[in-house]
């Protein structure tokens, strides 16, 4: 089977799910005629019609709210944020309405909100954000951040079938840089389960999204110095896969958590706290974090490179934890 890109894998998931279930529809800014700012939904409107691939006004509150209303009625809307950054405009709708609807009134919101997130592309402060932390903090939402093409497809298909709202943060740096061969058949990746991206025994790097690839690079470099690094790709941030986290800690006893998001209040803190609660005695060194600096992400290459976590940073942190 031929390799396809991470972006094509997402499109394949949309097509397959729209073929499978007539209730699935896409909506968002420029997703129809144009096929989306990144062309993720290219060709879908021609194939499925204007009723199932809907160009909307520039209205994130309405896009998310309408998706919720349609979901109540049994449709399975997939709403696109043109950039994940703009999900901030729908923060109230997501946290107050969508996340609480089932709990309060029994009305479910089976819907997906997806869009390109992340940096390393000189996109600047409004086209590079990693909005996951605020939503990981919101009970009632599920959060998915695929790192591979296979998972991008398998997780999106699972997200569309999930009976709750799933925020699906694609990584725009990976869209065309990462490829994979799709497993045959109805390929579903379970939500809520992490993946061992690389086996190792001396130290664990826990991460997700674009930094999975930096962690693997770091692991390669460390392997040359005789350190065997395990890389855990979380894939789902809510619910977190505690079992996978505990398993790797118990195996290697040393952990570095890496994320592209800013440090303070980022999800690394949550993971560090869980490790404390669940397997503190198994630690031979403190849990360290490698993250972006606590600044809005600047545009200039020199600045972005300084702010975002780089492979060398991961190596340095791993060496410190490894030799603790």
């Amino acid at each position: 089977m031929a390799e396809i890109t991470y972006l094509e894998a997402i499109r394949e998931a949309l097509v397959e799910e729209m073929e499978r279930d007539a209730n699935v529809l896409c909506l968002g800014e420029d997703v129809g005629v144009f096929g989306g700012a990144f062309k993720v939904t290219e060709g879908l409107q021609a194939r499925f019609g204007e009723n199932r691939v809907i160009d909307t006004p520039i209205s994130e509150i309405a896009i998310v709210g309408a998706a919720a209303g349609a979901a109540h009625m049994g449709l399975r809307p997939v709403a696109e944020m043109q950039f994940a950054d703009f999900i901030s405009c729908a923060y109230d709708m997501l946290t107050n309405y969508v996340a609480t609807s089932r709990y309060r009134t029994g009305l479910a919101c089976p819907m997906v909100v997806r869009g390109p997130s992340g940096g390393y592309v000189r996109g600047g402060p409004f086209h590079s954000q990693n909005p996951e932390a605020a939503f990981v903090h919101t009970p009632g939402l599920k959060i998915v951040c695929p790192a591979t093409a296979e998972d991008a497809k398998g997780l999106l298909k699972s997200a569309i079938r999930d009976d709750d709202c799933v925020l699906f943060f694609e990584h725009k740096y990976l869209y065309r840089r990462i490829k994979g061969v799709m497993p045959a058949g109805d390929h579903l990746t379970p939500i809520g389960r992490a993946r061992v991206a690389r086996e190792g025994k001396d130290l664990s790097i826990i991460t997700y999204g674009a930094t999975v690839w930096k962690a693997i690079e770091a692991a390669d470099q460390l392997a040359q110095t005789g350190v065997s690094v395990e890389v855990i790709d979380l894939r789902t941030l809510a619910p977190l896969d505690d079992d996978a986290i505990v398993a790797t800690v118990k195996k290697t006893n040393r952990v570095v958590i890496v994320h592209e998001d800013t440090r303070t209040g980022g999800i690394a803190g949550e993971i560090a706290a869980r490790i404390n609660e669940l397997c503190w005695e198994w630690l031979d060194a403190p849990v360290l974090r490698v993250t972006a600096h606590d600044v809005p992400l600047p545009s200039a290459a020199t600045l972005e490179d300084f702010v975002l976590p780089q492979t060398a940073d991961i190596v340095a942190a791993a060496q410190r934890v490894g030799t603790y």
Binding site: L25, P57, D92, Y103
Partner: protein, 350 residues
């Protein structure tokens, strides 16, 4: 007193035809308004006895707005009620005992004690109570009605918002989305003069809220919100328009909030005499009684019988609700997600 029964409305074929109401429908309207008021008065009593959880919001003087508009939608239509739409929910099939339980946050309340007041929903009966952040339900109802359009179902949606809520971004985005998509949605702006303490002049510089319709390219209409027949008719026109593919209508109903924002609010900001004037001259039930007696030749005794019936129903509901247990603490952990449907408790709170 058949006319007052919920079944009576449902079985009546007349309302579907050009907004014509049968005699029995007209008695139904009276019944629903009376039931609303009686039930709210009971809630006030329970509130004073500290039996309710949270604030109590009255629709006193706005019953015509809620009842007349809800009467214009069909069983399979969906409405989204607001703070002062108890009447709408009753017309749509919510029962007094559910309403009381909801205000008491009992285990068997519609939200099992999780949310308060009119924040409850039943898609089977076709209603979704609002959430607190104002305006959000307009966007949600855009989606509900988008589903009708996408599936070619002949159903319509009705969403209420207050004069104050027209200032929210959610209202704006929601109605615009529905307008562009030509969703079968009726948006009712209830102009009751105040948003909490804020008079409409500080909410909008527009002379009339219905002037917003042109800016969204939707039909606009308005009516005296304290005239239940006018409310019914203006809503019915909009509902028919929506059902026949004519898209969104924005309706302004002019009414008046005779109580404070909630029962704790002493309305110190209201000019003297204003409340009293509305109560004396423009009570929607009093006005409708005169219409029924003068034009419909209804006997006062028939109305008295409806009143007695409403009171009896509220009495029975109260008794039932007072026997309802509170929810068990650990039930708080269920239903955040479909799967897993229950969270694990923290180790120190098992």
């Amino acid at each position: 007193m058949k006319g007052g029964a919920r079944g009576a409305k449902r079985s009546a074929a007349a309302p579907a035809v050009a907004g014509r109401l049968s005699h029995s429908d007209k008695l139904s309207l009276y019944y629903w308004m009376r039931l609303t008021r009686t039930l709210e008065e009971r809630l006030v009593n329970l509130h004073r006895q500290n039996k309710l959880v949270g604030g109590l919001f009255r629709s006193l003087g706005q019953e015509a707005d809620a009842v007349g508009s809800a009467f214009a939608v069909e069983e399979h239509d969906v409405l989204s009620s607001l703070t002062r739409n108890l009447g709408s929910l009753l017309v749509k099939g919510a029962t007094p005992v559910e309403v009381i339980r909801q205000h008491m946050a009992t285990a068997d309340s519609p939200t099992r004690g999780r949310d308060l007041g009119l924040h409850f929903a039943d898609m089977g009966r076709g209603y979704i109570g609002h959430i607190s952040p104002l305006g959000d339900m307009v966007a949600v109802m855009a989606g509900v009605t988008l589903s009708f359009k996408v599936r070619g179902e002949p159903r319509v949606g009705l969403v209420y918002l207050g004069d104050g809520a027209t200032s929210t971004g959610a209202f704006h985005e929601g109605i615009n989305f529905a307008a562009v998509q030509r969703c079968p949605l009726v948006v009712i702006a209830e102009n009751n003069g105040y948003a909490y303490s804020t008079p409409t002049a500080k909410q909008s510089a527009a002379k009339r809220f219905v002037d917003k319709a042109a800016g969204y390219g939707v039909a606009g209409d308005h009516a005296d919100g304290n005239d239940v027949l006018a409310v019914y008719e203006v809503t019915k026109r909009a509902v028919d328009r929506a059902r026949s593919g004519g898209g969104v209508t924005l309706i302004e109903l002019v009414t008046y909030r005779r109580r404070g924002h909630a029962e704790h609010d002493n309305q110190s900001y209201v000019p003297g005499g204003e409340v009293e004037r509305w109560a004396a001259e423009n009570d929607p039930i009093d006005r409708y009684v005169r219409v029924l007696i003068d034009r419909e030749k209804v006997e006062q005794s028939d109305l008295d019988a409806i009143d007695v019936r409403a009171t009896a129903e509220v009495d029975a509901a109260t008794e039932q609700a007072l026997r309802s247990p509170p929810p068990a603490g650990p039930d708080a952990l269920a239903d955040v997600y479909a799967n897993p449907s229950r969270l694990a408790p923290h180790w120190y709170r098992r």
